[in-house]
């Protein structure tokens, strides 16, 4: 949040990829069994998740910088509670995540995407954006607290990239023909996050997809926050 590039990159890159892929992969909608005839509507879920992955990097990099400059040590000398320190770090990431969601939503509506779940679905989408930012942001803070290095946090980027691409990002899982790829996408939690957002846009109300999406976010957030809190305690004790 402290540098314009940290705000602009997570906004611009996902939209660019959406533009490129929705043009290049439009022909995919002609495959039998493809769930919609609008590839933009299908692909609009991707920026929401991709933006959250960028947020992970931002949260982690900012916190790692605070560790490297000694600012975190100064914070820990104050009476602030550990969760308040973490909350402060994650607050910016969540705000950025919600701003991103507004922008992606606006882009989607501008290019003619209709929300099958209606206005209530949009509210649920914002709630989901909040949860995804919190979940991935907590992973970023955990990485920063464990390693104390901005470079190490940046080193996570290729791993997230792999999770994103080996998922149902560009094609529904049931249409993936290569078995190992379909299995990997099925085991990949990112597929379910994408499918939760996608269900609100192209299906309407799909309880299973939403429960899986929110559930996975909650599990990641609980694990990420608990381990971050423990890592912060270890760091404060040094």
């Amino acid at each position: 949040m402290r540098q314009p590039a940290a705000v602009i990159a997570p906004l611009v890159f996902p939209i660019l990829l959406l533009a490129v892929n929705s043009g290049g992969l439009k022909a995919e909608t002609q495959l039998p069994g493809f769930p919609t005839n609008s590839f933009v509507a299908f692909a609009l879920a991707v920026p929401f998740i991709q933006g959250a992955l960028f947020s992970t990097m931002n949260a982690g990099t900012d916190l790692a910088r605070d560790i490297q400059t000694g600012f975190l040590n100064r914070l820990t000398l104050t009476p602030m509670r550990r969760l308040a320190v973490l909350g402060g770090q994650l607050g910016g990431v969540i705000v950025l995540g919600l701003v991103q969601a507004v922008v992606y939503l606006a882009v989607g509506l501008a290019v003619g995407v209709r929300f099958e779940s209606g206005p209530a679905g949009i509210l649920v989408l914002f709630a989901f954006a909040f949860m995804v930012s919190l979940a991935f942001g907590s992973l970023g803070t955990l990485a920063a607290l464990r390693t104390g290095s901005g470079e190490a946090v940046q080193g996570l980027f290729p791993a997230f990239f792999v999770f994103l691409f080996i998922s149902s990002m560009n094609i529904p899982r049931n249409l993936i023909q290569v078995t190992w790829f379909r299995d990997a996408a099925t085991a990949n939690p990112v597929s379910y996050l994408l499918e939760a957002v996608r269900s609100l846009i192209i299906v309407g109300w799909n309880a299973e997809a939403l429960a899986l999406g929110f559930g996975i976010c909650a599990v990641i957030a609980v694990i990420g926050l608990s381990l971050s809190s423990w890592a912060l305690k270890v760091r404060m004790a040094r």
Partner: protein, 255 residues
């Protein structure tokens, strides 16, 4: 001769660093393999889209794009090295030690090529191992790899020009982003004929489209638009040569 000596020295040092540092070597190999896996593996059903007429199947179709992409990004990664040299001051040593400075650009170019040959070999072996079909003859395949070399050189010269103007690694996105855009505004996932709307209009005028389509033609053994593709590629090389050497002059003027 002195220019060649400088080029050899610069190339040796760049390659020495790449091949002795996994953090520099691995991304340039892993990323193309990853894209190949994600595109060829995940999207293979696209061959069932009505109008998809590439005879060798989707793996071969994607191999050509990923090969050309690896060539272009191989050039860009070498551009990162040039920017790093300017940022750390090593480029000043090269400028001072090299009697003939054009050899510096040539040396980086040789390094980019050798580095990409390594990546291309790994990518080709993996593609053949997972069952990529090849329809073209030896001559056709030479055509495909020469096109990739042209992409590598063009991208390197572009990145070199940027690196020498900005002289900092912070210029990385400026090197990378336009290359990414030009590559992805070509027919990446489906043949040009299946693109619709605005992206089709852009792809038609994008010179990289000709290179990608000609490359796919070479692999299939039915070369198409060869003259146009080589013409477009060589025009890019020529244009970016001027860009790179003017960048060198700007770096010299800035000291």
């Amino acid at each position: 001769m002195k220019t060649l000596a400088v080029a050899r020295g610069v190339a040796w040092r760049t390659l020495h660093n790449v091949f002795t540092n996994p953090s520099l070597l691995i991304p340039s190999i892993v990323f193309p393999l990853f894209f190949f896996t994600a595109f060829a593996g995940g999207l293979s059903r696209i061959r069932d889209v009505p109008g998809f007429d590439y005879p060798l199947g989707y793996t071969s179709f994607q191999f050509v794009f990923v090969l050309l992409q690896s060539a272009a990004f191989g050039g860009v990664f070498t551009g990162f090295g040039i920017a790093r040299d300017f940022e750390g001051g090593f480029a000043r040593r090269l400028l001072l030690a090299a009697p003939h400075r054009s050899g510096i650009v040539l040396g980086y170019g040789i390094a980019a090529l050798v580095r990409w040959f390594f990546t291309a070999t790994v990518l080709t072996v993996v593609a053949l191992a997972v069952g990529m079909n090849v329809g073209g003859s030896g001559v056709d395949l030479v055509g495909l790899y020469v096109l990739a070399v042209i992409m590598n050189v063009a991208a390197l010269l572009w990145a070199c020009g940027v690196a020498m103007r900005f002289r900092t690694l912070q210029a990385g996105p400026v090197m990378q982003f336009p290359v990414f855009i030009v590559l992805f505004f070509a027919p990446v996932y489906v043949p040009l004929g299946l693109l619709r709307g605005w992206i089709h209009s852009i792809a038609v005028v994008n010179p990289v489209t000709r290179v990608v389509e000609a490359g796919r033609g070479f692999l299939a053994g039915s070369p198409t638009e060869v003259g146009f593709a080589f013409g477009a590629g060589l025009a890019l090389v020529l244009g970016f040569s001027l860009w790179a050497f003017r960048g060198l002059r700007k770096a010299e003027a800035a000291g």
